[in-house]
């Protein structure tokens, strides 16, 4: 089924169309939510909310953007609202500002779990627009053009956002590792 056929089916409450839409976009939505909220169970719950919203608002979708772009937008909004509600972003920010409570065994190979916490904390400290552009590009591997469509921005704005996001991330991570390695060095 094409996007238009799927949308038509959903408007008509066709279960087969809805199932196809979910199966086609399920991982995309969960991954987008996860890249922003960083908790898989929360991301799955949010993904359900996204599809319910799609079902409810299908009649309002004018079709001037790609269906997937519209779904991305809903997923991003739901995730940001969730973060606002839970205040998790602040918690992560404070966690990062306290030099992360990661085991300071920096000379050994860093565990995946630690890398995850450090990466998520660094992403969370990016300004919202940079965060969205970065996660859409790196987690969803969306091309600049599609990111521009999802975020309703020009191509050059997206390029600039991504460039700044990468610089900011590198800067924050360098700062963190600089502190971490220095402290580890001084403790030995």
């Amino acid at each position: 089924m094409t996007d238009q056929e799927l949308l038509h089916g959903i408007r008509e409450r066709d279960q087969a169309a809805f199932r196809e839409l979910v199966e086609k976009n399920q991982q995309l939505v969960i991954r987008t939510c996860y890249s922003l909220v960083h908790q898989l169970e929360d991301a799955r719950d949010l993904a359900q909310e996204v599809f319910i919203e799609v079902m409810k608002s299908a009649a309002l979708f004018r079709g001037n953007a790609k269906l997937s772009s519209w779904i991305y937008r809903i997923a991003i909004n739901k995730s940001l609202n969730h973060l606002k509600r839970s205040g998790r972003r602040n918690a992560f920010m404070s966690l990062f500002s306290q030099d992360l409570k990661v085991e300071k065994d920096a000379s050994r190979s860093v565990e995946d779990k630690e890398l995850k916490v450090i990466l998520h904390a660094a992403i969370d400290r990016l300004p919202v627009n940079q965060r969205i552009a970065f996660t859409l590009h790196h987690y969803e591997e969306l091309p600049y053009k599609e990111i521009a469509e999802v975020m309703n921005l020009s191509l050059s704005s997206v390029e600039s956002l991504l460039h700044r996001a990468k610089l900011n991330l590198r800067k924050r991570l360098s700062h963190y590792y600089h502190q971490n390695l220095k402290e580890y060095g001084s403790s030995n």
């Binding site: 199932r19 979910v22 199966e23 399920q26 991982q27 969960i30 991954r31 996860y34 890249s35 898989l40 991301a43 799955r44 993904a47 359900q48 599809f51 319910i52 079902m55 860093v110 995946d112 890398l115 995850k116 450090i118 990466l119 660094a122 790196h138 987690y139 969803e140 991330l169 590198r170 991570l173 360098s174 590792y177 600089h178 390695l181």
Partner: protein
């Protein structure tokens, strides 16, 4: 040290590739349809009963407040009945005094009028 930091930064950024590998949830669609059924279920009397059940602390509060207000009002009215009676008697006496004074004033003027006629 700078090289070491740079390596770690790169390793952290490369971790995104691993982080985006999310395991599929085989129950996602069935959980979603169950939630949808709940969401689109028309409101039933059971739901209204649930609402009333949830609102019971508020209802209890309103009832208590009403009872207290009625109690205070009744208490004010019924407390110290002798004082009320005294006030009433005093009121009646005052009224009587005023009537007598008015009567004597009137009668005085009447007598004066008769004298004048005579």
């Amino acid at each position: 040290m700078d090289r070491q930091i740079e390596e770690r930064v790169q390793k952290t950024l490369d971790f995104i590739r691993k982080d985006r590998d999310i395991p599929e949830d085989p129950w996602f669609y069935s959980r979603l349809t169950a939630r949808l059924e709940k969401e689109f279920q028309p409101s039933s009397p059971v739901l209204d009963r649930n609402l009333l059940w949830r609102l019971r602390p508020i209802l209890a509060g309103v009832l208590i407040l009403m009872a207290v207000t009625v109690g205070i009002t009744l208490g004010k009215v019924l407390s110290n009945p002798s004082e009320n009676q005294e006030m009433t008697l005093y009121g009646i006496t005052e009224e009587n005094d005023a009537s007598i004074a008015l009567f004597s004033e009137l009668s005085g003027s009447f007598e004066e009028q008769i004298v004048l006629i005579k």
